[in-house]
Amino acid sequence: MSAGGFAHRAQQVLRQALGGDAAFRPQQLEAIETIVARRGRLLVVQRTGWGKSAVYFVSTRLLRDEGAGPSIIISPLLALMRDQIEAAKRIGLVAETINSSNRDDWDRVEAGLLSGSIDLLLISPERLNNTEFRDRLLTPLASAAGLLVIDEAHCISDWGHDFRPDYRRIVRVLDLMPSTVPVLCTTATANDRVVTDIVGQLGTGLEVIRGSLDRESLSLHVRRLDTQPERLAWLAEWLPTTSGSGIIYCLTVADTRRVADWLNARGISAVAYSGDTDAEVRLDIERRLKSNDVKVVVATSALGMGYDKPDLAFVVHFQSPDSPVAYYQQVGRAGRAIDRATAVLLVGAEDSDIWEYFLANSLPVQWHAEAVTEFLASRADWTPQRDIESAVNIKTARLTGLLKILEIEGAVERSGTSYRRTLRLWEFDEERVDRVRDARVREQQTMKDYADSPDCRMAYIRSTLDDPSPPQCGRCDNCNGSVADGALPKERIVEAVEFIRRRPVEIDPRRRWVGGGRTGGVALDQRLQPGRALAYLSDPGWGRDLLQAKHAGRHVDDSMVEAAAALVEDWLENEPQLTVVFVPNSDPARSLVPDFARRLAATLKISISGCVEKVAPTQPQKLMENSVQQFMNVHGSYRVVGPTPTGPVLLVDDVSDSRWTMTVIGALLAEAGVGPVYPFAIAKTKG
């Protein structure tokens, strides 16, 4: 086909899809030509909304017409897949997805692949790393391959802020793919370093098409408000003055819930969304936001890449993200198809602490990695994760993350929840980890600089993403004055402080024993009731007060006892004859807990019992890195002595961390015929 003929045909497909007068945007046709006519490999860096999907939809149609196999789109997020499937249908392509939430459809989708009736298959990188799933893909792929699309390709680069280990194996697959299979990598956010890294990993045959990152509708603002109550107050003041619906991004799951509850209490409809939210509930939330049924979705970065709501009016950051790439991506959700949208970055005092915590916990540690691989090598057979936890003192969440990285790197392989050392040579790549750490720290600094900068915000962000010579935007707070600097009424801040103090923090009972001679579920009659804490330990209110008291070795203030009493009265009003039992301590000098328990019982006018004794010393639970170790630390350290209370018990401690202490004592009390047991702690550590 001649070049003109090709363009004409591509144009026809686009018009079939989008209507009579649709035309390609700049560089779209060029991309399609590279993929279809030259079967090339292409990296497209274009802002969200440029129309990457039009490129692979039209390419898929043209390739299918030439007899190629289905296009396979690898994308990390379900939200994106749902949007894409809808869009593909509109242009007459049969698109399907296989992911963890549509298990019932798998057989049908695989049959469709085999019969050739499916044009596009969307899958997550995690699925692609599933051995069984891969084996099932082989037959449909063995006859004729079509286009391969790697969405959010910046995840390939470990320079990128959200490098995903699952992408590393995709790079290896591409290495083994004959150069005749067309590959399209797309991303909305990649600076030069990331682009160079992607090209380096995917080979020099990779062509790059890169466009401008400006978004003309968006005005960027920054407001520094150190404390959470101030920021909550700001939201309560600002949101009612803003039309349309939007997203508030938080760094932690707990904060999404807190902010959403606060807004709802202020009569602003809000809903929390995070990786902990059920897949179906998430889908529903996305729909409600899209149809403006809810004013605000308070989300972690789980609501991210690919979510498409063209009329999103604002994005507020309750805490600052740790990278300009992440920030640009998140504000880029707003104002796609409307004239004006606002992004406000609220900068808090706790931001950099949270960044540090995430960074420290996300990077693999050499001795962890070596301890795990050596242990597995000595076993030389499938080993349950539980056994690894017993042998190696590493936090469960960290171990899970580490095993994932080791699996991707080919040091270990997984079957269900068991692991074994592979037959490959493997060494911990310390240099790589250092490199990544340095890059992250630089990104953090860029975010701090951004917040402090007197220059045009959009120009600043664009230049950090290597968009060449961006002009002044004329819309941001530094160009055109702030929309976010309204005064905060004192009473609103007081209300926010009160809200944080009153808000119950829940303690979920442990459901399973983890070793040390006790395995399986905690028997129902030995299980704790759902519990409460007054606050999170890291909270500026009660959390900080408790920490100060502990460090100074003094007792807590009356106000804390009163707040706890109010909470318990409210919470357990239907449990008469409640008795306070406290978690004992073998060191009489550390009397914070018994003192607090006595005063709490006095305030509540209920009895207190010293029926639990400590019989063996324990290490502080915070030194134990995982559940098995924590359990083994406290198991057998307590006993119940008479006389025991009859009826329900309020089990009191200062800080709830692993919950094993409370679980073990709860089971001992149950064995002695005491219960139900309600755990209560002044503060809970964040999980």
Binding site: R39, G69, T131, R134, L137, L138, T139, L141, A142, S143, A144, A145, L148, R169, R172, V173, L174, D175, L176, M177, P178, S179, T180, V181, A377, R379, A380, D381, G410, E413, R420, R421, T422, L423, R424
Partner: protein, 317 residues
């Protein structure tokens, strides 16, 4: 690291992913490599292939269909690599040269394996024999292993029950090296903890010309025997029935094809086949104290020269 020629070899010959047409056999593959630079085939239509190679349309169509499997193969190969199974093709530098010298166009186009592949860059001492054996045969297998380890030579064997197992276990115990050539189930074999530890220690290399999941078949077992002979400067037949069975078939084929020096045990525990092999041209090994001498003498024989292949017109399809 697999290059484009390796990937084409995989697409043409591998059975690791399904195929609508039969993959090429060794005797179809090797002549093709002499007729065309393999990477050229990538992305070509059947018509282009037919013209370039002057072959029939349906043969060209078969080659083109095989090459369509590239994406599926990439997924399957990455999965194999991920678990530590490597792949060497006839196009690779590290493909053992002796396989081509001794087997010619019958040499396997593909090998999958685990462990240290450097072990096969020099010839080893092969040990073959029946699965069901008595204590005398087990002792002979152990003695051959002892002698090989003493001379710092790897033992090459079939990893089957009986003679193979005794020879390999002994070489391992004596601190030597072992090349196990599998006819089936590489994937299942490497699941055994003791095998994994041996592989990790660098003492064991397992290799198969078949897919890592291949089930046992008599045909594959015969194809495997060839490779044992081709990786060995001498092969000791510990016990063989006469006229039938894999050991007999493999030994007579090796003697006929002059693959390598065949040594047949004729002492305690030997069977009628052992004597018959001597009559066919195998060297007789009568007592254990002759073992080292036999190995030394075999290693003094010249290695087969590199073969010259004629780039004939392709008529093999």
């Amino acid at each position: 690291m697999l290059d484009q020629a390796d990937l084409v070899t995989l697409a043409l010959t591998s059975r690791i992913v399904p195929s609508q047409v039969a993959p090429l056999t060794a005797r179809q593959y090797w002549p093709l490599t002499r007729a065309v630079d393999l990477p050229w085939l990538m992305g070509r239509s059947a018509a282009e292939i037919a013209v370039e190679l002057s072959i029939a349309g349906e043969d060209a169509e078969r080659v083109a269909r095989l090459l369509d499997r590239g994406a599926a193969l990439a997924l399957a190969m990455e999965q194999l690599e991920h678990t530590g199974v490597w792949t060497t093709t006839g196009m690779a530098d590290r493909y053992p040269e002796m396989l081509r010298r001794r087997l010619g166009d019958a040499a396997p186009p593909l090998l999958h394996g685990v462990g240290d592949a450097n072990l096969w860059q020099t010839d080893g001492v092969g040990v073959v024999g029946s699965r069901d054996i008595g204590p005398e045969s087990a002792d002979v297998a152990r003695e051959v292993a002892r002698a090989a380890v003493h001379q710092r030579l790897p033992i090459v064997s079939g990893a089957a029950r009986g003679v193979d197992q005794h020879a390999m276990n002994a070489a391992f115990e004596f601190g030597g090296h072992v090349i196990g050539v599998l006819a089936d189930s590489l994937e299942r074999t490497v699941a055994k903890p003791s095998t994994r530890q041996g592989i990790a220690s660098g003492q064991i290399c397992l290799v198969t010309p078949y897919t890592p999941k291949a089930p046992f078949s008599a045909g594959n077992a015969m194809g495997r025997n060839k490779i044992i002979y081709a990786l060995s400067r001498c092969v000791v037949v510990v016990r063989s029935e006469e006229g039938s069975g894999g050991t007999w078939g493999g030994a007579t084929e090796a003697i006929r094809g002059k693959f390598t020096t065949v040594v047949s045990w004729t002492g305690q525990g030997s069977a009628q086949g052992n004597r018959a092999l001597v009559d066919l041209g195998a060297r007789a090994l009568e007592s254990a104290d002759q073992i080292e001498g036999q190995i030394e003498s075999a290693f003094e024989q010249p290695v087969p020269p590199a073969r010259a292949f004629k780039a004939d017109q392709l008529s093999l399809f």
